[in-house]
C-alpha cells in the first residue's frame, strides 16, 4: 500500500494533466487493489468473488479527487465475506482515500440496477479488477442488456438528470454542471443503454446512428480539456468549480479552452438527446424547439441534419419573444454558428470570457439573455412606461443581441467598437436604415444610463443636460431604458436591484423632460458648451475669478446668453464677489431689443425673496418688466437679466437707473417698505387688462414648471415671486414676458431637496397664493 501511495503522490505531483494521467492513476490504483484482493482472497475459503471498479475509475479515468467506487460481487454469506472485504478496504480507508463500496450478489446487483439510476449508470462503465473476471463481465453484461430492454425508461430518467448551471457560466462546475464530466458520462451511459453493452467511451453512439465521428472527435478533445482542468484544480487542492480565483491554478489549458470544451460537450449531448427523441428534460415546447431548427433540417435523419443552417430573422425574433425559456435553444443555435449569419463571429462570443464585477456569463450567452429579456422581463413604474412608449421592439431586440459585440476585442471602449457591426447586424435582420441607425446609437449608448444614474447628482440640471446631449433624441430614451435594464439583469442577479432600478428610472424621467420639445435639453447643452468655449477664448486675459464664473456657469444660462453678455456678466459677478458686503448688488445697463427699452442685468448675493425684491425695486423705479431671464444662483450669486421699458411718460434715462440702484440696495437691505410702496403705486397705475390670473403646473423631471398668465400691473412679478418664496420653494430659473398687457411668466421651482415638487398640497397652496394676487 505504501508503494502505491508514494507512486500515486508522485504521479499527481508530476504527471502532465489530462486523460492519460487519469488513466495512469486508474491503472496504478487497479494494481494496488488487485494486490489487496490477492492477499485477502484466502479469507474466502474458495468462494467465488469479483472486485469491480465503478464510475470514472471503472471507465479507466481517475482524477486525484475521484472516489474509489468498488463493487464486491459474490454469492458468499455475509460472515464469510466480511473479513475479506475488511482486509481489502481497511488499508484504503487508513490511507485516507475516499472509498465507496457495495457488496452484492449477482441477483442483488441486477435488482439494484433496476431500482436505482445511480447504481445502474455506475455499473454501465464497470470494469472487473480481480477475482472471477469472466463471471463478473457476464453479470455486468446482463445488467447492460437489462438496461437496454428498459432503455425508454432509463434514457427518460437520464434526460431528467439535473444539470446545474450552464456551460456558458464564467464560473462553471466542471463535474456535475452542464457541459461537465457528467454530460460526457451520460453519453457513455447512453451508448451502453442503446447497445446493451458495457461501454467506457461514447464511441458506440456512432454505430447506433446517434452521433457522427466528427462530433465524437470534438467530444473527445473537449473531454481531454476538461480532464486537464479538473486534474490541475484537484492538484491545487481546489474543488470542481472553475471559479475566477481558481483559474490561476490552470497552466496546461486556458479558461477559454475549458469554456469551449464545456460548450462542445453540452452541444453533443443535446444533439444525441434530440436524436433519441429525448426532450423530456426541457420545458421548451416541441413547436418552439422546431423553430430553432431550420425547416429543411427538422425531421431529417440525424446524420443529414445541417446544423450550420443560419436562423432566419423571424425564427430568432420568435425565440426572443419566448423569453427565458428559449435560452437553451438560442445558446445551442449560437454555439452551432447559426447566428453568425446575422452577426458574424457570434459563435466565438459564446465562449468568450470577459469577467467583470457581477458578470455571470460569457459574452455571447449574456447577449442572448439580454435579447430574450428585453421584451419579456417584468416591468413596473418607470420601466413599464418606457415599454409602453416603445415603438420598435424588433430594433430593441437586435440592439440587445448586438450590444456587446465590441467585446470581441479586449480593452475598454467596447460600446464604441460595437457600433459598426451592430449596424450591419440590423441590416442583416432586414431592419430599415433608420432602425439600423437606432441600433447603432443604442449600442453606443448602452452603458450611459447605468453609469450616470449612480454617479451623477440627479438634481443637478447641468448633469442631466449633459446626459441628454449624449442621448440627443427623445425617441431613443425608452429603448435605451429597457436595454439598460435587460443588460443589467442578464449580467447577474447582483447587477440589477430595486435600488438601481429606481435611480435609473429617476434619471430617465428627468431625461425625458430634458429632451422634450419644450426644453430641448440636448440643444441647450450643445449651445451652452459652445458659448462657454467662445467666452473663455474671448477672456483669455481676464482675471481668474471672471474665468471661474464662466467655468461654473450653468448650461441654461450660457445657452441663453450671447458671448459678449457672458463676458460682461463675468466681470459683474467678479466685482460683486470682491465686495465685502453680502448685501451688495451690481447692475449692468445696456440698450434693449427695441428703441424704447433697455436691458438690465442684476447680480446680487442670493438671499430669500431676492427676485421679488429686485422686481419690486424696478416697479418703484418706474420700470415695466417686459422680459426676464432669471438664471438662479451659482456659487451664492444670482444673476437676472431684464428687458425693461418706462412705465411712465418720462422715458428711460440715466437718472432712472441711478434710482433703480438706490432702490435695489435699500430693498436688499430690508430698508424699503416694498409692500406698502407698491400698493400705493398700484392705486395710480391699475392693471391694463381685466383677465383672471391663470396658474398651471407641470412636473418637468428635475423641477416643477409653474406657468402663470395674469393682467400686468405694477409689482406683479414681485408678488408672484413672493408667493413662491412664501410656499418655501426656490426659483431655479424663470422666464417672464409681457405681451399686450398680459404677463406670461414661467417659474421653474424646486423643493427644499432640490428636486421637483411632488406634493400636490404644496402645489395647490402655491397656485392659490398666485390666484389671490389682485
Amino acid at each position: 500500500m505504501e508503494s502505491y501511495l508514494s507512486q500515486r503522490e508522485a504521479l499527481i505531483a508530476s504527471a502532465t494533466p489530462g486523460v492519460a494521467a487519469a488513466q495512469e492513476l486508474a491503472h496504478i490504483t487497479d494494481e494496488a487493489v488487485r494486490e489487496l484482493a490477492r492477499t485477502a482472497s484466502s479469507r474466502l475459503g474458495g468462494e467465488r468473488y469479483a472486485l469491480i471498479a465503478l464510475g470514472g475509475w471503472g471507465a479507466g479515468a481517475m482524477l486525484p479527487s475521484s472516489d474509489l467506487d468498488i463493487l464486491v460481487l459474490s454469492d458468499a454469506k455475509e460472515r464469510t465475506l466480511k473479513p475479506f472485504v475488511e482486509e481489502v478496504l481497511y488499508p484504503l480507508w487508513d490511507a485516507g482515500l475516499k472509498v465507496g463500496h457495495q457488496v452484492r450478489s449477482p441477483k442483488g446487483q441486477l435488482r439494484a440496477m433496476r431500482a436505482d439510476l445511480a447504481s445502474c449508470t455506475a455499473a454501465l462503465t464497470g470494469r472487473p479488477l480481480a477475482g472471477d473476471v469472466g463471471w463478473a463481465e457476464l453479470v455486468l453484461a446482463r445488467g447492460a442488456q437489462d438496461a437496454h430492454r428498459r432503455s425508454r425508461e432509463v434514457l427518460g430518467e437520464l434526460a431528467q438528470r439535473p444539470r446545474p448551471g450552464s456551460p456558458y457560466l464564467l464560473e462553471p462546475e466542471l463535474k456535475e454542471g452542464a457541459g461537465g464530466r457528467r454530460d460526457y458520462d451520460e453519453l457513455v451511459w447512453t451508448a451502453a443503454v442503446v447497445t446493451g453493452k458495457i461501454a467506457r467511451t461514447p464511441l458506440l453512439l456512432i454505430d447506433a446512428g446517434l452521433a457522427t465521428a466528427e462530433e465524437l472527435g470534438r467530444l473527445t478533445q473537449a473531454a481531454e480539456t476538461t480532464a486537464v482542468a479538473r486534474f490541475e484544480l484537484a492538484r491545487a487542492g481546489l474543488g470542481t468549480e472553475m471559479t475566477l480565483d481558481a483559474t490561476d491554478a490552470l497552466h496546461a489549458v486556458t479558461p477559454a479552452e475549458v469554456q469551449l470544451a464545456l460548450a462542445e460537450t453540452a452541444l453533443v449531448l443535446t444533439h444525441v438527446r434530440e436524436r433519441l427523441g429525448g426532450q423530456r428534460g426541457r420545458d421548451w415546447s416541441a413547436r418552439e424547439r422546431q423553430l430553432a431548427r431550420s425547416p429543411q433540417a427538422t425531421g431529417a435523419p440525424p446524420h443529414a441534419r445541417n446544423d450550420t443552417e443560419p436562423l432566419a430573422p423571424e425564427e430568432l425574433f420568435a425565440l426572443f419573444d419566448a423569453g427565458d425559456a428559449a435560452l437553451p435553444a438560442l445558446e445551442e443555435a449560437a454555439q452551432e454558428g447559426r447566428l453568425d449569419g446575422v452577426l458574424p463571429g457570434f459563435r466565438d462570443l459564446m465562449t468568450l470570457r470577459r469577467p467583470g464585477i457581477g458578470h455571470e456569463l460569457t459574452v455571447g450567452a449574456h447577449s442572448l439573455k439580454a435579447a430574450a429579456l428585453v421584451m419579456t422581463m417584468p416591468a413596473e413604474g418607470a420601466l413599464a412606461r418606457s415599454r409602453e412608449a416603445l415603438e420598435h421592439p424588433r430594433t430593441l431586440q437586435v440592439a440587445a443581441l448586438a450590444h456587446d459585440i465590441g467585446k470581441m476585442k479586449p480593452g475598454g471602449g467596447h460600446a464604441e467598437r460595437g457600433v459598426k457591426p451592430a449596424e450591419a447586424c440590423a441590416r442583416a435582420f432586414g431592419l430599415s436604415e433608420s432602425s439600423a441607425e437606432d441600433v447603432a446609437d443604442l449600442v453606443f449608448l448602452h452603458l450611459l444610463l447605468a453609469d450616470s444614474a449612480t454617479r451623477l447628482d440627479l438634481d443637478d440640471e447641468d448633469a442631466i443636460l449633459h446626459v441628454a446631449a449624449q442621448v440627443a433624441r427623445r425617441e431613443l430614451l425608452a429603448p435605451l431604458h429597457l436595454l439598460t435594464a435587460a443588460d443589467s439583469r442578464a449580467t447577474g442577479p447582483a447587477t440589477w436591484s430595486r435600488w438601481k432600478e429606481s435611480l435609473v428610472g429617476a434619471l430617465v424621467s428627468r431625461l425625458d423632460a430634458a429632451l422634450s420639445p419644450d426644453i430641448d435639453g440636448a440643444g441647450i447643452a450643445e449651445r451652452g458648451e459652445a458659448v462657454r468655449a467662445e467666452a473663455l477664448d474671448a477672456m483669455a486675459e481676464a482675471a481668474e475669478a471672471e474665468r471661474a464664473f464662466v467655468h461654473g456657469a450653468s448650461l441654461r444660462y450660457l445657452a441663453g446668453r450671447a458671448v459678449s453678455d457672458v463676458v460682461r456678466d463675468a466681470h459683474l459677478v467678479a466685482e460683486l464677489q470682491r465686495s465685502p458686503s453680502a448685501a451688495e448688488v451690481r447692475l449692468a445697463v445696456g440698450a434693449g431689443p427695441t428703441p424704447d427699452t433697455s436691458s438690465v442685468t442684476v447680480a446680487a448675493v442670493d438671499r430669500p425673496e431676492l427676485l421679488a425684491r429686485i422686481a419690486g425695486a424696478m416697479s418703484l423705479a418706474g420700470l415695466d418688466i417686459l422680459a426676464l431671464d432669471a438664471y438662479g444662483s451659482r456659487g451664492g450669486v444670482a444673476l437676472d437679466s431684464f428687458v425693461v421699458a418706462s412705465a411712465t411718460r418720462k422715458g428711460l434715462s440715466t437718472e432712472t437707473f441711478v434710482q433703480l440702484e438706490r432702490f435695489l440696495r435699500a430693498a436688499i437691505r430690508d430698508r424699503l417698505e416694498l409692500k406698502t410702496r407698491l400698493a400705493e403705486r398700484r392705486l395710480h397705475y391699475p392693471a391694463r387688462a381685466a383677465a383672471p390670473v391663470k396658474v398651471e403646473t407641470v412636473s418637468a423631471g428635475w423641477d416643477t414648471a409653474v406657468r402663470v398668465s395674469a393682467p400686468d400691473r405694477p409689482g406683479l412679478l414681485h408678488d408672484l415671486a413672493r408667493a413662491v418664496s412664501a410656499t418655501n420653494l426656490d426659483i431655479r430659473w424663470a422666464k417672464v414676458l409681457t405681451v399686450d398687457g398680459l404677463a406670461l411668466d414661467t417659474f421653474h421651482v424646486v423643493g427644499q431637496d432640490g428636486g421637483p415638487v411632488d406634493d400636490p398640497g404644496v402645489i395647490g397652496h402655491l397656485s392659490m397664493r398666485m390666484r389671490e394676487i389682485r
Binding site: G381, R385, R455, W499, S502, G751, Q752
Partner: protein, 112 residues
C-alpha cells in the same frame, strides 16, 4: 473604537471615499440601501393617479476606527457628503465593544 455609519446620496460616494482615504482609513463597507427620513420618498403620478410611494435610493457606508480618529472621519464624511439640500443623509456614530480580524485572531484596534 467607534463605528461611523453614514447614509449618503449615491453620487457622493466617490467624494466620501476620497475624503476617508485621505485620512488614511483603510477600509469601509458600502451597501446600496433605500429608505426615507424627512425627505419622505417619491410619490409618482402615472396616468393621473398616484401609484406608488417609493423609497429613496441611498448609499450606506460603515467605518470602524479607533476612538481618536472618529471625529476626523465624521467631519470628513460630513464635508464630502454635504449638498445642503434635504436628503443629504445622516451620520450615526456608536461605540464598538470589540473587533477581531478573523484571519489572524488579532483583537481591538489592531484588528482594524
Amino acid at each position: 473604537m467607534k463605528k461611523i455609519e453614514a447614509i449618503i446620496k449615491p453620487h457622493k460616494l466617490d467624494d466620501v471615499k476620497e475624503a476617508i482615504n485621505a485620512l488614511g482609513v483603510q477600509g469601509m463597507t458600502v451597501s446600496d440601501v433605500r429608505g426615507y427620513g424627512r425627505q419622505k420618498g417619491h410619490t409618482e403620478i402615472y396616468r393621473g393617479s398616484e401609484y406608488t410611494v417609493d423609497f429613496v435610493p441611498k448609499v450606506k457606508i460603515e467605518i470602524v476606527v479607533a476612538d481618536d480618529a472618529a471625529e476626523k472621519v465624521e467631519d470628513a464624511v460630513l464635508t464630502a457628503a454635504r449638498t445642503e439640500k434635504i436628503g443629504d443623509g445622516k451620520i450615526f456614530t456608536s461605540d464598538v465593544d470589540s473587533a477581531v480580524r478573523i484571519r489572524t485572531g488579532e483583537r481591538g484596534p489592531e484588528a482594524l
